[in-house]
Amino acid sequence: MSYTVDLGVNGAELIEEVLKAYPEKSAKRRAKHLTVHEEGKSDCDVKSNIKSLPGVMTIRGCAYAGSKGVVWGPIKDMIHISHGPVGCGQYSWASRRNYYIGTTGIDSFGTMQFTSDFQEKDIVFGGDKKLEKIMDEIQELFPLNKGISVQSECPIGLIGDDIEAVSKKKSKEYNGKTIVPVRCEGFRGVSQSLGHHIANDAIRDFIFDKTDPNKNEFTGTPYDVAIIGDYNIGGDAWSSRILLEEMGLRVIAQWSGDGSIAELENSPKAKLNILHCYRSMNYISRHMEEKYGIPWVEYNFFGPSKIEESLRKIASFFDDSIKEKTEEVIAKYKALTDAVIAKYKPRLQGKRVMLFVGGLRPRHVIGAYEDLGMEVVGTGYEFGHNDDYQRTTHYVKDGTLIYDDVTGYEFEKFVEAVQPDLVGSGIKEKYVFQKMGVPFRQMHSWDYSGPYHGYDGFAIFARDMDMAINNPVWALTKTPWKKVA
């Protein structure tokens, strides 16, 4: 691709300038995470998935966040115990907007905070006895729960608790009930990412391997697929599922947004796994491929260009009847997307965006912006790996500023210099940039809007980006009687 984005500044010089603020040793380490993309670099030429420097204000979270917050938390009919002190569960309580349908507290538990609320005595004497009692109390007070997971917080691994033994014992006591110990202590790994992996492995070990394949009465069809790696933030999985159903597929499971344990259990019966968030669920997809022979395909449901491409890619795994219906689906929504683009593109054309998000979004949303005539001039991953950056090269243009595990300082300086029309990142970043007068959208929670996936979601995405950028408030940030220095 010969096209180069307009960064507005010399990216290499900008990086060099920003690195000057660090002590020498840290500057050297951070330099490996920052670059200006050049065509031909297979992985954007940045180091990733390595430890954050202490004291730099990394945006990253922890393994517990990756397991409880991302993978397990949305499974609605299980109870997920935040095992350890009260804080982790409290701060992650219902904040990720994993929508579900169910009677909370009775047959669904997604927006509740179950914690063992560790006290000093639990640290000193261990928490295994308490955990046993917690499981008994859960069984008594929440009898319709379909399973329990134990989400380990930091102290669990440090004090040598044996949550595996407790889970095994209690599972036996409750007639083979699914009880899953998860070793996602926050100090493990370098970010949320290891938590995803650990959570995937726990599903493999405690759901797939311990479930009788005939547990649920299930009649398969040739069109059975599972949505993998969609957490249904603001309803994303729903606005995706509807398209898959329209193209004639049968979605037998949602991983894990609005997901139920039965859906997870039945997933090995799928004919194809369709994977949205590669980062957090490639592990289980690979496992199902190896063990059950289920192929998997990555897709991208942000913006009509990528949706269309993805629908066809998914359809290519099936017979002509599906392919035909897929074309009908694409045609059906054409009027909608044309109208959305006609309405919003003139208002957004040429606007420059900088992103910093997690999972798949630093690359996946680029197409949606481009559909609206916008240009992503900088992007980076909170917890991406090398294979994410490899995939990113198919999305970004030459000259794009790439920043892995960006620090608060770097991000502020980059935005100051590049002066984008929009920044898309998280709650911790939102107000920093809005203070600077830069329009902002949270791209983790969709800023409490959504869904953004699918055709229905694209209309909302376009509306929201317009709302952010063309908000009249941005004309008011400069005080009229203050002279510009």
Binding site: L53, P54, P85, V86, F118, I134, G186, L336, A339, R463
Partner: protein, 519 residues
């Protein structure tokens, strides 16, 4: 297809469209292997029963929907109240991401804080290197005037000696030898966020007063006429601290607000991001040792700190989040007593206005039953105010309030005819509250944002007072202290009462005879 470019439907309406409703029903029927409806309905009803309540209250190990957070959150709050101070939390990095998000969701403001990003190797070998590098990076990048160090449970479990680590870091040149880096141990498995506030503030004050961890002479107290004010962990800190400052000015009292994040959590949008703004100056923090007395607005949130202050020779006035007329009266009379200054006429007039407002509206509050939960000091203040209004705070619950706190609440009940049938519940969570709202129904619930789940389940209208408030904007800008603050609380309660009254009387040709234009 319901979506259109003209009228974009988002999650609020999109999923109510027939194509989605049909999809949900099919998913449930075919793939979820859901609980049969009969069992579901049976269980729903059972959770409302006395039997369920009894079993719920018999819980010994499980906590469900607690109304408290962990210590380091409070430590970050306290650090944020000092000039140019960067909170530095020693331990796992995910915790810091959580604190920053939590505060940003409440205040709608950035919250700067760094972590020493400890991982497995630090768990084995200790986090000294993380401290050394972390302090150097933080100091160079963010140019703070002070770095206030606290700890996560990880660092506490492995027993990191942060005092020694800070010293070593200074020797290694991470930060200058004379740089202020107070510290506090804030294990998440002890107390709650209010304990962390207390420990961190204690850490800052002992740092300045008691010889900066052995690197400077201890300050010798030379008593002056100044008064220290400590607000405690307070979700209304932006509105409250400004209101308190105004009241002190009306009094013409020389005062120091110890820990004041009211500017840090209320910076303007004017093109510039201010990582630091306002806060107690380090000089004032040091000089606060000489003050005549200290007013602790939330004593339970500052127990250790005020004890230390007392040991330095100051008188301490211990209050419990005063709200309303009598609470504010006490605050002002104590202020008058310790300063020898008369309560200014301007404040006396404000008092009369609050009394006036209560008199105007009391018919709508009198005898109404309330359930409330939150931090222990806040509960004491609100309980007293509700009793003052002639309301009945029949259920007062706190997750981080202990038996000593409960005894204080009981004293309030005992002192008022309206407290006769009221009950206090220490160390209980919002799942206990759910049972109570079913078995002992009330007219209104007062609590933080998470109370909305109780509102939904039990149909008890929620009045949002507490921390955190995520789903209503800007409440933290309005004080709840002083007579003006009492006015705000009164109006907040009244607004909900009137909204509920209107919603309950707007049935056309059925109930709308009471849909009165004048209330």
């Amino acid at each position: 297809m319901s979506q259109s470019a003209e009228k974009v439907l988002d999650h609020f309406k999109l999923f109510r469209e027939p194509e989605y409703k049909e999809m949900f029903a099919k998913k449930k029927a075919e793939f979820e292997y859901a609980v049969p409806d009969e069992a579901l309905q049976h269980t729903i009803e059972w959770t409302k029963s006395e039997d369920y309540r009894e079993k719920n209250f018999a819980r010994e190990a499980l906590t469900v929907n607690p109304a408290k957070a962990c210590q380091p959150l409070g430590a970050v709050f306290a650090a944020n109240g000092f000039e140019g101070t960067l909170p530095f939390v020693h331990g796992s990095q995910g915790c810091v991401a959580y604190y920053r998000s939590h505060f940003s969701r409440h205040f709608k403001e950035p919250t700067s804080c760094v972590s020493s990003s400890m991982t497995e190797d630090a768990a084995v070998f200790g986090g000294l290197n993380n401290m050394i590098d972390g302090l150097a990076n933080a100091y160079n990048l963010y140019k703070p005037k002070m770095i206030a160090v606290s700890t996560t449970c990880m660092a506490e479990v492995i027993g990191d000696d942060i005092n020694a680590y800070i010293k070593t870091s200074k020797e290694k040149g991470s930060i200058p030898a004379e740089f202020d880096a107070p510290f506090a141990h804030t294990p998440a498995f002890v107390g709650s966020h209010i304990t962390g506030y207390d420990n961190a503030l204690h850490g800052v004050l002992t740092h300045f007063w008691d010889g900066k961890a052995g690197t400077a002479p201890k300050l010798e107290r030379k008593p002056n006429e100044s008064i220290n004010f400590i607000g405690g962990f307070d979700g209304y800190v932006v509105g409250n601290n400004r209101e308190i400052r105004r009241m002190f000015k009306e009094f013409d009292i020389d005062f120091t607000m110890l820990c004041d994040p009211s500017d840090a959590w209320d910076t303007p949008t004017d093109g510039e991001f201010r990582m630091y703004d306002g806060g107690t100056s380090l000089e004032d923090a040091a000089n606060a040792v000489h003050a005549k007395a200290t007013i602790a607005m939330q004593t339970i949130s500052t127990e250790k700190t005020v004890k230390m202050i007392e040991e330095h020779g100051q008188e301490v006035v211990r209050l419990h989040h005063p709200v309303g007329v009598a609470g504010t009266d006490k605050f002002l009379m104590e202020l008058s007593r310790i300063t020898g200054k008369d309560i200014p006429d301007s404040l006396t007039k404000e008092r009369g206005r609050l009394v006036d407002a209560i008199a105007d509206s009391s018919a709508h509050i009198h005898g109404k039953k309330f359930a409330l939960y939150g931090d222990p000091d806040l509960m004491l203040g609100l309980t007293a105010f509700l009793l003052e209004l002639g309301a009945e705070p029949v259920t007062v619950l706190s997750t981080n309030g202990d038996d000593k706190w409960a005894a204080k609440v009981q004293e309030l009940f005992d002192a008022s005819p309206f407290g006769k049938d009221c009950k206090v519940y220490p160390k209980k969570d919002l799942w206990h509250m759910r049972s109570l709202l079913f078995t002992d129904p009330v007219d209104f619930l007062i609590g933080n944002t998470f109370g909305k789940y109780l509102d939904r389940d039990t149909k008890t209208p929620l009045i949002r007072i507490g921390f955190p408030i995520f789903d209503r904007h800007h409440k933290h800008r309005y004080p709840v202290w002083g007579y003006q603050g009492g006015m705000n609380v009164l109006v907040t309660i009244l607004d909900k009462i009137f909204d509920v009254m209107d919603a309950d009387t707007n049935g056309i040709a059925t109930t709308d005879y009471s849909f009165d234009i004048i209330r």
